[in-house]
Symmetry: D2
């Protein structure tokens, strides 16, 4: 039987002293202050056991990891209607993300690229009565943790430099694929990205997707079929232009964020979260990618 | 000797009854109210003679024609420094104008596409003390006509639906190629586009470029060399994705606007303006293009 | 316990009378002669059981399904060296497949698009002594069936109209990413695509990838890790611009061909092959996609 | 009155000792043998005078300059029917020339990019009885010089490394926009590019376009209107991605070739040819561009 405790702690020990740790994201001023030496791992097994190493209980900015959480709520609200406004195909290459939006008439390639997540945010702005408060409550509920909160300084910082997201939102608006005001949607979007959670909290939140839609409290948040589809989207689109590489090297559905977090899961088996703020050239946590690669190599656990 | 009066009036008579007149621009609500049957021609010869037909003295929204006027002032301010922020190459294809901006790191292909004109507007916002008032005064001066003004309703209308321009401005901002606030620059930009002028006034204004930089009052506004370069840019970039076609069919430097105006000129010989609000599929005045084609065919006057 | 026999036969009965069956591929003259009414399903379970319905033993042109077979042999030869010449990312959009090759300096996005498969064919032309004969023997061996053969008329037909593949091969050559002559590589490539196999034979061949690299005769053809990676590539890249959709709707690694075949597999569980020659707008078998979707919905078997 | 002799000789003296001369084209092995120090200028005035400096009578490989000559013959054969198979718009950017061909369904952007010139070559292969011999005779006739010939070694060298042109021709074929065999058309195309001419001979050949379609022997080869249109295409498309720059800096219709030649003309006034084999980053002769820029600056002669 696999000794997850030893495996995780060995990986942590091996990698924490790596000299090359990647570069902390600098385009959001608040994020650039992160210490590159943070490194945490948390594993939530479906059988109830948990394993951890390092800074697994230090909160970090989850950034794009939040896109899976908003997606899950939008799917719960809209089910397949959602797919008239956003596609489910990988985004291809990084050279022209707005171009693809132009070529495809304002339908984002998938809900995990920025443009797609902005459409999802727009849907939540329509469906929720108090979007920011209601979404926060949803995250707290699925994570079974009422202490989770937005970091308002990070949200404000993102807004100040979020020109690219303003460009995407306005382009969506020009195609009629944004129903609420640009400012309203982006205010929500900047807050969802500024959610602050620990590795442990993220693992609890994503337990829903590994557990056929039921959270740790056994409440059904999305259907079995919806949970599978969210996992499929994570696998094909979760790591920007490195999604194929991640499927190839790690072999698990997952999602990364520029705050340095990565969450991955094996349906019905476990969720694992890593956090190390240094990023590789494609915007994914350098040490986190290596940790997950080692984990699936050593445990031989993957969906393939 | 050419009888311009007869030529222009014959062209006007022939075309004014054309059944297929193109489609009035609808994306700016205020512009969509234009009567498609308006049709004016005005020719200003360098020898002082003027010729006209139809609605040559009815004001219309000059829209993108204004981009040449702002460009001329930016060149007067910055001379060749301008070209570090915007290129002078034709824009290629219409499928991906924002994509090109991404591929080329925020340097617009030329100053006559929207993104390039927004950079030019940004320069004027920096250089002018009171950008909107000062630019209006410049236009009045080169046209020798103090009655020219903005149509504030059109400007407000453009702002309300200008999502694509907001997308472009924010994308420029994300690349560091917009120095003033997006709102400030676009407010200026929407006003310049909302300038209202008659065919006669536009011809007077563009007299500067046909006359080696000197306006009708003989004042030098741009240098001889700058005037030539502005003409070169009009020839290669003045008609969106139909620039090659216009050079090929008409053979004159010129600029069109979605208000239905077109201005073209033969250096040291004449300026000619047409206005007919119906547009062809590429966004240029359908009847205006035909009028200018017939004019250069009948007079055999072109730069080639 | 799931009654695969009933499930498969019910799906076959339901779908065989569908009026809308898609369009038989016409760009290869020989393929266009196929009867759109063919429809077969074959399931090979890892426990040794097999299930079938309809034309499961009628041979068809496997076309792009062959790309997984050549890939597996190239990986066996080159292991990770292969990835210096071809990437593993989804290809994004269909508008510009040669463009991506240009943008990315002759490195195809993945081995399952044509350009990537041509690079893989080039590797086999270098590694095999008698490429066509040796590759055929490999396919016969992993399928445990010495009767499998090329359809030489189809190969000749593809060559006559394969201009797009000639374009891709020459573009690769211009980037130095094709080591053998264009003619040599494409001759091999057109033959691999012209392999003729039944649903049953394809299922036997792909048993290798579902069975950690061991074929039905228990011989190890690729390593456990290589088999997983091949499955990962099928999942992210196996269905052209519909790969995300297939992962989303079906949730299995798989590969389609324009001959109308589709093969999909659940590691350590089963392989399933369908064949129906009518294609949807994205070039995948219309009825086959529906059959697999129904199969995973009814059995609740997917990697997610 | 301008002293062309002094101006041309001064420009030649100034530039011949420039240290930075650009890089000789290396992708065609035969061309890479050129001495970078060659530098010639030849001016043919419409009034019959000629002026020259340096290597004006040394033959060089005219390469893409030949595209204007084939275009002129295709226009003579087909007139406006030509434009159903090739467009007249500038090609935009260099990143994706084959992509544009894909996006625009096999219609090249203009006849001066490779794909467009290959379509033009295809037309001549259909119209001429003995394409290579007949085209050579046409060039000799318009130049009034029976000594002009192909360099067969260069033609063979281009064929050996012309993978990119094979890619373009096959892509055109896949869209049905190439009527003759790829090999036949490219054999013709590689020979036209391998024409060897001196600055003086090129200037004589292009006299046709400056002289309203009549060659030095006063024979009409294209109509007045066709000559104008060829000039318009040279101005908007003659210098790849530097066409706008050339129009902006030089202000004359012209065409460059990777052999280091450039020809430019002012209608009804003169033709001027330069040759210096070193190229700038965009593939145009570095010293030649500077020479023409100085020439139009000093003489103040341009179409603008």
């Amino acid at each position: 039987m696999l000794d997850f405790n030893t495996i995780i702690n060995n990986i942590h020990s091996d990698l924490k002293n790596e000299v090359v740790k990647g570069v902390v994201a600098s385009y959001i001023p608040e994020l650039s202050k992160q210490d590159v030496n943070h490194f945490g791992i948390f594993m939530q097994h479906m059988d109830g056991r948990t394993f951890m190493a390092g800074d697994a209980n230090v909160p970090f900015s989850i950034q794009s990891i939040s896109k899976v959480l908003t997606l899950s709520k939008a799917i719960a609200f809209e089910d397949n209607n959602l797919w008239t406004r956003v596609d489910v195909e990988p985004s291809g290459n990084p050279f022209n993300h707005l171009s693809l939006l132009e070529l495809e008439n304002g339908i984002p390639r998938n809900p995990l690229i920025n443009a797609g997540a902005i459409v999802v945010a727009d849907i939540l702005c329509t469906q929720f009565k108090n979007p920011k408060a209601d979404f926060l409550q949803y995250v707290r509920d699925i994570s079974n943790d009422q202490s989770i909160n937005y970091n308002y300084k990070v949200a404000a910082s993102e807004k100040l430099t979020g020109y690219n997201n303003y460009a995407a939102a306005n382009l969506l608006k020009s195609f009629g694929n944004l129903h609420n005001d640009v400012e309203v949607v982006l205010d929500f979007y900047f807050h969802q990205c500024a959610l602050e959670m620990t590795c442990a909290q993220v693992a609890k939140a994503f337990y829903v997707f590994a557990n056929s839609g039921k959270c740790v409290n056994n409440k059904q948040h999305v259907t079995v079929s919806q949970a599978k589809r969210i996992n499929a989207i994570m696998l094909t689109c979760g790591f920007y232009d490195e999604s194929g590489e991640f499927a190839f090297e790690v072999g698990l559905p997952g999602k990364s964020g520029v705050g340095g977090g990565i969450v991955a899961l094996l349906p019905n088996k476990f969720v694992i979260t890593t956090w190390s703020p240094g990023l590789n050239a494609k915007g994914n946590s350098l040490i986190g990618m290596q940790a997950l690669e080692q984990f699936t190599t050593q445990t031989n656990l993957s969906i393939f």
